[in-house]
């Protein structure tokens, strides 16, 4: 068991104030703590973020970002139960903790919008220049200079940092006097460190980037520890003689260009009737069309307009879900998967600048016995195989995984989807069950992933090393 001291500048009666939080938010949090009782997992402005009438927007408009630039949100992801066997996080105040420890981590849990965390947004907005380090206490800044503290930026739930964001981070740190490598930046990726180091020579590097494939690990634990969220093998096998009403399942919560492109192609080609699909995002037809047009196709605008008029659309088994209900953890029953033979699994981004990372999205077909198309970065299927999963060649032509161009890749995926949708129900039923061994293997391997994966253990060992070394 590794023991890591995580210290916070300000501990209030109801929660730990997120480190490096904008003082304007902090002051309101302070007053909030004075008047509202009871321990909570989130600081004030983290609640109800997607609601346009939330308190952040009400008080500040859009001048300090949609999200607070630093979150409490129940503390670092390393405190999550999935890591309980490996690491103990000692949460302390800086003031009291320094009486016990010589060196400590100063965790910052960035909001999902990295640009907001970095103080970068459109011209004229007051968020520009709100660099996170300015809101670290002087006490901790001094400790960082003396290498008695290490910043741990926890971005475990996100998987993509582009070079311009690193450039901006480097630029703002130039003024901070925080020594190079005193900031550990960990996010949900298998190769973030390699990418960072390919972009910056040793002399240019300021950050200690950590590969932390949190989401796959956490999802594995999540489903393993909650059997009610999944089917076991025998229950699944008992559905062998039941035909499923849909060929495929296609879930969209937030509209993104490649997701809309795929959805609108299926609509244009009159194939949606074979799919159990959802589209929960409330965006205008104009915007969805603009997004879809990033992927050229002869879209039928009339049919799409008619489809759009029906939005939001739910999965057949999730009729009451809304955009706000569904998150990585709020959408995890096996029911929708029992209704279809394959899953169109759309990652957050299709183009990841070489980053290799999985969010919770791929977990669902893995645990729920579905073969899937992975609409994401090039090489995703190869990475899954590297992690011990099996993919679906020759049942699915997976050559799309090698295609570097995202437009071509989506074309290749769509061609395969169309092929499957052309099968009769009996054909696709047999096609599906002929992959039984692969589906069982993936299900079992996924549930064991949190017991066998070495990535997080490596990261924790390294963090411990950094803490103990002078």
């Amino acid at each position: 068991m590794i023991n890591l001291p995580f210290f916070y500048d300000f501990v209030f009666p109801n929660y730990v104030l997120p480190n490096a939080l904008n003082p304007q938010l902090a002051i309101i949090n302070y007053i909030h703590n004075l008047h509202v009782g009871g321990a909570t997992t989130d600081s004030l402005f983290e609640k109800d973020v997607d609601n346009p009438n939330n308190v952040n927007h009400y008080v500040f408009g859009d001048s300090i970002g949609k999200w607070p630039q630093s979150l409490r949100h129940n503390g670092t992801h390393l405190r999550y139960p999935c890591y309980r066997e490996f690491v103990k996080i000692d949460e302390h105040s800086v003031f009291l903790g320094k009486q016990q420890f010589d060196k400590y981590f100063y965790p910052i849990k960035s909001g999902p919008h990295l640009d907001e965390f970095l103080g970068r947004t459109h011209a004229g907005n007051k968020l520009n220049g709100e660099y996170f380090w300015r809101y670290i206490s002087r006490e901790v800044l001094n400790d960082l200079k003396e290498k008695k503290a290490l910043i741990f930026i926890d971005w475990a739930h996100e998987n993509f940092v582009d070079k311009s964001q690193f450039d901006l981070l480097h630029e703002q740190l130039n003024y901070s006097e925080i020594p190079n490598m005193q900031i550990m930046f960990a996010f949900n990726s298998f190769n973030a460190k390699e990418i960072y180091e390919s972009w910056y020579s040793p002399g240019e590097r300021k950050l200690d980037i950590l590969n932390w494939p949190f989401l796959l690990f956490h999802n594995s634990y999540h489903y393993l520890s909650q059997p009610d969220k999944r089917m076991d093998v025998s229950t699944w096998q008992s559905t062998r003689n039941t035909l499923r009403p849909h060929h495929g399942i296609f879930k969209i919560r937030r509209g993104r260009p490649y997701r809309l492109a795929l959805l609108y192609r299926l609509c244009t080609d009159n194939l949606l009737y074979k799919m159990d699909y959802s589209m929960l995002d409330n965006i205008t037809l104009y915007h969805t069309m603009r997004m879809a047009s990033c992927f050229p196709y002869d879209y039928n605008e009339e049919k799409i307009a008619e489809l759009h008029s029906r939005f939001p659309v739910n999965l057949k088994t999730e009729t009451s879900k809304t955009f706000l209900d569904i998150s990585g953890w709020g959408d995890n029953t096996p029911e929708p998967s029992k209704n279809a033979y394959f899953d169109i699994t759309c990652e957050t981004y299709m183009e990841q600048n070489g980053y290799k990372s999985f969010t919770e999205k791929v977990s669902k077909p893995l645990v729920h016995f579905n073969p899937f198309f992975f609409v994401g970065f090039q090489g995703a299927l190869a990475l899954l195989r590297e992690l011990g999963f099996k993919t679906f060649s020759p049942y699915i032509d997976e050559s799309y995984d090698d295609e570097p161009d995202q437009v071509k890749r989506l074309d290749m995926i769509y061609a395969e989807i169309k092929r499957l949708l052309a099968m009769s129900q009996e054909e696709i039923h047999n096609w599906y069950w002929s992959m039984e061994d692969i589906l069982i293997h993936n299900h079992d391997h996924f549930l064991n992933f949190c017991k066998t994966d070495k990535h997080t253990r490596r990261m924790l060992t390294y963090m411990n090393f950094r803490l103990r070394s002078s």
Binding site: D9, F10, V11, F12, P13, N14, Y15, V16, P23, A26, I27, Y30, I31, N33, L34, H35, V36, G37, G38, A39, E91, H92, S93, V94, F95, L96, Y135, S137, R138, E139, V140, N142
Partner: protein
């Protein structure tokens, strides 16, 4: 030691370089937050405590124009953290958020400033302090815990030793709408009989707090001098002075010239006795005819205006051996120059208060004790009797101590002064012999005092009471 008491002392807010005092005004809390963000200059205590008593030029004076009190309404730390209790007490100082689940109940300490008005939320008419009752500045979590008995509010007045009836009354008024049961507020004060006085003044149905005797200053001063030996006269060094005549008959130290102190100073000046006294008055004083008449009337003393004026002109004045010290440099434990005590034979001690029924002792009475001087004490009646009860020896036979039984304040001060005059009229040889004839008492008193903190049963009882309340 395995059978130590454990007290969880929890605070609402812990900042990067300080624990924010519980129940501090929000304005002070916010500025402390900003200070913590930008500076490490202030450590261990609240930013506004840097300035002892706000002035117009002080930061708080500028910011709030003295409309928010002359001190923060709540001070940093707790007197209970003094190391004089550490041999039988372990404190778990922590944040409510991080440690609340560790204990069934916790103590929520609030250290009250010397000026109680700011704490109670009662000021002069028109002042914005009115209504700023301390409990309104507790977090809602702590307030609810106090209402439900999960938290015990500990009002720490350990450094002060006197309460007026009206002050208790105002505390009661401020608590009227707090919905905190009387059982859940413990008021600890530096006194041996505060509980008895409070319970005499207020019947069970009228009480809104639990007053407890906590003679903290004596224990803390004892511990302090035990561990900072260089700050008091050592027995061996003292014995070597046995054949050295001292320059002054008396030593008389005044920092804050309360009425009884000033009156005595004026009288000594009027009677020409200051020449025989190593004296200080760290506050400049002015005594025009009207002031002299006031003191003359109040204390029934003939006073000499011209001599008084000469004395006033010398103020602020330090002791001969303390050149360079000043009002703000001298506090309870920073006034510890042992040299001064080798220069005179009698210590004139003036306690903070001379009226009322509270039996309390501050550090003032123990400076002559630890520095091997006999003393007269201008205090409440029975101060010497209390010292004897605590195991000290007084100076009957050498000093007429019948003044200690005199209930009338003015008569008592006159009786003390008569003794001062008598001793001041001794020749240097006489007073030298007089002084050394008390050698055994002086030695005994110093030893007894330095051991006191280890045998402080009243303090121990108080800690035990707190512990019982947490564990009941």
């Amino acid at each position: 030691m395995s059978n130590k008491y454990i007290l969880p002392l929890f605070y609402d807010n812990i900042f990067s370089n300080m624990i924010l005092p519980n129940a501090i005004y929000t304005e002070y809390g916010l500025i402390n937050y900003l200070h913590s963000l930008y500076s490490t200059k202030v450590k261990q205590h609240n930013f506004f405590e840097e300035e002892f008593g706000f002035t117009d030029q002080s930061l708080a004076g500028l910011l709030f124009d003295n409309n928010l009190g002359r001190q923060p309404n709540s001070m940093s730390g707790s007197n209970i953290t003094s190391r004089c209790y550490s041999h039988y007490l372990t404190l778990d100082e922590n944040s409510i958020f991080l440690a609340r689940e560790k204990y069934k109940r916790y103590i929520y300490p609030i250290r009250i400033p010397p000026y109680m008005d700011y704490f109670i939320g009662t000021g002069s008419s028109g002042s914005k302090i009115n209504g700023e009752h301390f409990w309104k500045h507790m977090s809602q979590t702590a307030l609810r815990d106090a209402q439900d008995g999960r938290a015990i509010i500990f009002l720490d007045y350990g450094q002060e030793n006197y309460m007026e009836y009206d002050t208790y009354y105002l505390i009661h008024e401020s608590l009227k709408k707090a919905r905190i049961p009387a059982d859940n507020i413990i008021f600890g004060i530096n006194s041996f009989n505060a509980q008895e006085i409070y319970e005499n003044w207020f019947g069970p149905g009228d009480q809104r707090i639990q007053v407890r005797d906590w003679p903290y200053v004596l224990a803390n001063t004892s511990f302090h001098y035990t561990h900072f030996k260089e700050q008091h006269l050592q027995l061996e060094d003292w014995l070597q002075t046995q054949h050295t005549k001292r320059k002054y008959h008396m030593i008389y130290k005044v920092r804050r010239p309360r009425d009884h102190r000033q009156a005595l100073l004026l009288k000594l000046a009027s009677d020409g006795l200051l020449a025989k006294t190593d004296w200080s008055c760290l506050t400049p004083i002015q005594c025009d005819e009207r002031r002299v008449a006031y003191f003359s009337g109040k204390f029934s003393w003939p006073l000499n205006q011209q001599s008084i004026q000469q004395m006033c002109d010398q103020t602020p004045k330090t002791l001969e051996s303390e050149n360079g010290t000043h009002y703000t440099a001298v506090r309870t434990t920073t006034d510890n120059n042992a040299e001064a005590y080798k220069n005179s034979y009698l210590y004139i001690c003036t306690e903070t208060f001379t009226h009322g029924d509270h039996k309390s002792l501050t550090e003032k009475a123990f400076k002559p004790v630890v520095n091997l001087q006999p003393f007269v004490i201008i205090a409440y009646p029975g101060a010497l009797a209390l010292l004897r009860k605590l195991g000290f020896k007084t100076f009957t036979g050498f000093i007429d101590e019948s003044y200690d039984d005199e209930p009338d304040e003015v008569k008592r001060i006159h009786m003390v002064y008569t003794e001062i005059q008598r001793i001041a009229n001794m020749s240097i040889d006489e007073i030298h012999n007089w002084y050394w004839s008390m050698k055994d008492i002086l030695e005994y008193n110093q030893k007894h005092f330095l051991n006191y903190w280890q045998n402080d049963t009243v303090g121990h009882n108080f800690i035990k009471y707190l512990s019982d309340r947490i564990n009941q």
